[in-house]
Subunit: 374 residues, 4 copies
């Protein structure tokens, strides 16, 4: 039963493998920081294992394994350093495409959360992994983190089990267009502030680091807080799906930091309309973020999409995009409305379910197919 031919190979010893998501070339061991971050191999042999080091306090990472492009497993990871068998007892000659993907978003609320790939164990030979035709980056909040794509409608816990890249619109879009997917998303965060008016829960503040969403010493050692080398990739389309938590903030009480005393709030007028100053602050955050995105991705077509959990800030985002274009003469940006989530398409925690993600993906796929001339 034990396979005597298995050889342990650290990543350093493996001639060919592909890393998905933001990474630093040659990282060893290899942290998978983001949802959708993955390692992919083409390998012959009868059996394959992956060597992982997993750490966390509250929020455990989950992974999926796909073989030849089809989902085989989805499982919770225990802490520790160990190997997981990905396939066994297969025809030795056939080359299998195997991709192990992090389901869970980078966890800003768990300093010790990390998922590291050390290597593989195999009795086969590793072959090159071809590139994809395009590269897309998806920037978002809980929607892009796939929160609610797993779980029953009545489930309300905020736990990794209910989040996942495997049913996310980003995965559907990237696969339909033959694109590599980069994700950076965090549940509850916005462009200007989080859903609770916490002004630190904004994606722009993290965007230029390798993985500014992480916390803690361990992640620091893994290079999470270093500036990300944007020249290491060339993004064809940048899909920003933010604004949903910024909209929520207008309905929430003031945030105040018990330590510093700092306070923050986006306000509504008594008639239910947005306070103009606060709306302006939001729009400026959108404009500033667009400038940051352009600076780091000069060639990318920027699609600001919005709507999967309501259209409240649609006009405001459009206004910001219009102002950005006027200020910069950069016309390589558009706004795309995604279908709102309905009773039929909702998942758990009142978040978009699998069907809602599929519908949103369809809009993006059709738009991109047209834009890219595919």
């Amino acid at each position: 039963m034990e396979n005597k031919n298995l050889k342990n190979c650290s990543l350093k010893e493996i001639p060919f493998y592909k890393v998905h998501g933001r990474t630093k070339s040659g990282s060893y061991p290899l942290p998978l920081f983001f949802n959708g971050s993955a390692v992919e191999v083409n390998v012959s042999g009868t059996e394959l294992w992956i060597d992982l080091t997993v750490n966390y306090t509250a929020f455990e990472p989950w992974i999926t394994c796909e073989i030849n492009g089809e989902l085989m497993s989805r499982q919770m990871l225990m802490p520790g350093t160990y190997a997981i068998c990905l396939f066994r007892n297969m025809s030795p000659e056939a080359v299998k495409n195997v991709k192990v993907t992090r389901e869970l978003q980078a966890m800003s609320e768990d300093e010790s959360c990390s998922l590291i790939v050390n290597g593989f164990r195999s009795d086969g030979i590793f072959y090159p992994v071809p590139g994809k035709k395009y590269a897309f980056e998806f920037i978002g909040d809980s929607i892009t983190s796939g929160e609610g794509t797993y779980g029953a409608r009545e489930d309300t816990d905020w736990i990794p089990m209910y989040m996942g890249y495997s049913r996310d619109y980003a995965k559907l879009v990237a696969e339909a267009l033959d694109a590599d997917a980069y994700l950076i998303s965090q549940g509850g965060w916005g462009v200007l502030s989080g859903w609770d008016n916490n002004p630190h829960s904004n994606i722009p503040s993290c965007y230029e680091k390798m993985c500014g969403l992480c916390r803690g010493l361990e992640n620091e050692k893994l290079g999470a807080f270093e500036p990300y080398d944007f020249t290491s990739r060339k993004i064809d389309a940048l899909i920003v799906n933010l604004g949903t938590n910024d909209a929520s903030a207008f309905d929430q009480p003031m945030w105040h930091d018990p330590v510093t005393g700092e306070i923050f709030q986006q306000r509504k007028n008594e008639d239910g309309t947005y306070n103009p100053d606060d709306l302006l602050r939001f729009k400026n955050a959108v404009i500033d973020f667009l400038k940051m995105l352009r600076r780091n991705n000069p060639q990318a077509h920027i699609i600001w999409c919005y709507g999967m959990l309501g259209y409240s800030l649609s006009l405001a985002i459009n206004d910001a995009v219009n102002q950005y274009i006027t200020q910069t003469d950069d016309f390589n940006v558009i706004f795309l409305q995604l279908p709102n989530t309905t009773d039929e398409t909702v998942g758990c925690r009142a978040h978009p379910g699998q069907k809602s993600h599929a519908r949103a993906a369809q809009v993006l796929i059709e738009y991109l197919r047209d834009y890219l001339g595919d």
Copy 2:
């Protein structure tokens, strides 16, 4: 075979019937000016005919007949005054709901085009026709005229046969929400100008008349050019689907009127972006039209939707809507993007087909269901 019990009843003699679409209460004979304009009865008896007077030079009206809410027939109308049998040989006691609907848009290019209902022939009794829960008005161009919802993909003639209310998104939306539908739409027309830069092909210029899209003496006699009495109805939602031809105009040569010498053109810059002056002119037309709509429909929720044939002016329309809100403090207006037409959903004449209309309707239905709290 001949039914001796049939009685000819002019509309005046019929105690209960319902007119759909813009009309003047008590009109007799009854012109059906618009696509979607209809006459509806609840009637017992074994047999029912409708008495029509039809006139046209180039573009013949088509009608559909629905019995108990289901489509039974769709047919071309010949010119003249005559009766058409709607049902026969049915159970006499049962009350049948019968609706005869004009498929064809008001035809600005055929002065003599008109469709008039004179009455019915029946051996039954007419019963009251209950009202609907809501009232919607749909304002648009060829998309709202259902151009391309009939016909094979390769068909390219611009003829009534290929246009129709019966597969239009407006019909789907109205029926899903139990709403009466008012339509005013014209193929090739825009907010500022037509697809060919003809500045007279703009819907706002016609909006406040009963049916400003018509031409000719006959239609004048029928009251088409009189001011429309907006107080005769109370619109809950006003769906504007305009901008598609305004976008086309930017790609067309200058229009010039051979008689008056008048010229008009929306221009693009050499780099393919929109000429800012011309874009401003378009935005102002949107803003002005919104003001006109609001003036005439104080309570209506205004939805400017756009996208079934491309998203080019999406940002410009949003900008105009934003400016309108800023200028008027009227927040009862939103922008809704409709899914673009794809190879799978296209109909004839490169227009949205039945599937595209169904998809667009779904977005509107979901939005309105949410908005109306249904």
Copy 3:
């Protein structure tokens, strides 16, 4: 408005046209006896009319017109001799494919019912109509007559309006496989007897005549009762969809002919099972009909399908098919179960609706695609 270039052409003068459904080559004028019977032309010109003679007492024929393969109109026919405009105002050069199809089954209950094509009026030129790849014959009852494919669920009248080839599974199957369709079907009829135990309401008794379902002198003159020349066509697949009314007969009271005193009944035992003698009689009718079908269509693959309105006689039909094979060593016959109609797929008069026909068609399409190696 009047087209001075129109020429009246009797069918004799038209060089190219195609007749669908059972016909005698060169028939003039041309009777369309069956649902699905049609005349098809390829014609240039701006305008086309069809010249018809229509007769009936109770049940009026309906027709559809398809242009370039797409449904344009569906309408009730009035009695008389007249012309109907099929298209007008089209581009003169383009060759249009036009097909006018009888919606209504042959009406055994209306002796005077007939639909005759006399010719066309056109300002164009007629071109050859290419043949299809395959030829299928569909033999059935109300299901194959498309009863219930039009109409609201609550509608219960037995009238032509609710029947139609245009939404029938036979049309879907034939079009999906590029086949010519021949239909012979009659609502209420069976293999052995009608739903009401009338033993004369059996399809086999009519199968070998041109159109044995018709009645009356007029139809006799049109050749309806002459033996059908089966050599005039070569059927690839013969789809028999019978047994549903035979099953109903077991639940009905005895039929007796008030004139001749003849009686007939298919009986059930007290425990609800079928009387073995009567079941045997049914099975023998199936076997005999299979022999008749084979005699007249030596090469046809025979598919006995069943199930759209219940599976009650499924085992009995299979038994009969098995016995037929044993008796004849003819293995070119199979049984295919079609999906039963559900609350979601039902149409009017508790008959299969459009969705049920689409599902049944899918089963047949997939089977035939496989069988024909398409």
Copy 4:
């Protein structure tokens, strides 16, 4: 990070849990013999683990975990005795429904393959698990084992990864009708013989044991070969999906046992038809199996379904069912044809994919809904 409140509970100590699939009441430890066999709990607390003992040589079991009815994980099991975390970090008060299900069929080709549940670890309280409305047993081959429901089309290895209850038609049918599911199925097996003419690969020979599909001492100790107590359950519907491998056998070379010299073959005639003696042998096997099923399940409605991989033996199975009814006067049995698998619905190893299972399930669901009056 470690949860100090977790208590290890052997099954004996757990007051409430439900076993799915064939089992002996009070079994401890609890073997999950079949695909679809499962243990289900309702439990509060923040965390839950399951204690397993897993053994195998070649074919590793896979399991799924469902929380509140939704799939959370699917994973390969390693050999040994260990615990797997099912959920963690959840709201303590909420009662979660958790079901751990064996994906893999009983493995006749791996003597040492077994999956045993020892108990749970939890910091919550166990609550009763309510029963289902109905009980169904599904008897089949690789189709019922869900072979091909996972995996890419090009995958050809015969390994557990590609088999699974989680996408099986049996699961869909049972859940749609609120029924408990019992499965007994084995890839390659038939009613009379296996696909390779091995006459020992027949399901009837195993049906009356607890799990006659298993092999080996370990499984013997677990009670696999003891007579199954059919009175421990009351099956409402018995769905037999066999015949596919019997059909294959007719196309395979003779099977011969290298040890005993025993030979077996189902033969075709030169013209491709079935050898009558061999077909008779098959039919008799069907008849005998029906008698065995009836003997053990006196009240069950027996549905012999067939067709997901071709209709070749459809008539023969019907003949056998008819003969069975004639011989026994037992009318509580029917034949149901399931839709064949197409290019669009195929999975890996040329077996029905997820879409094919969904279509087959739909036919069964509709039939059972009607039969059960649901």
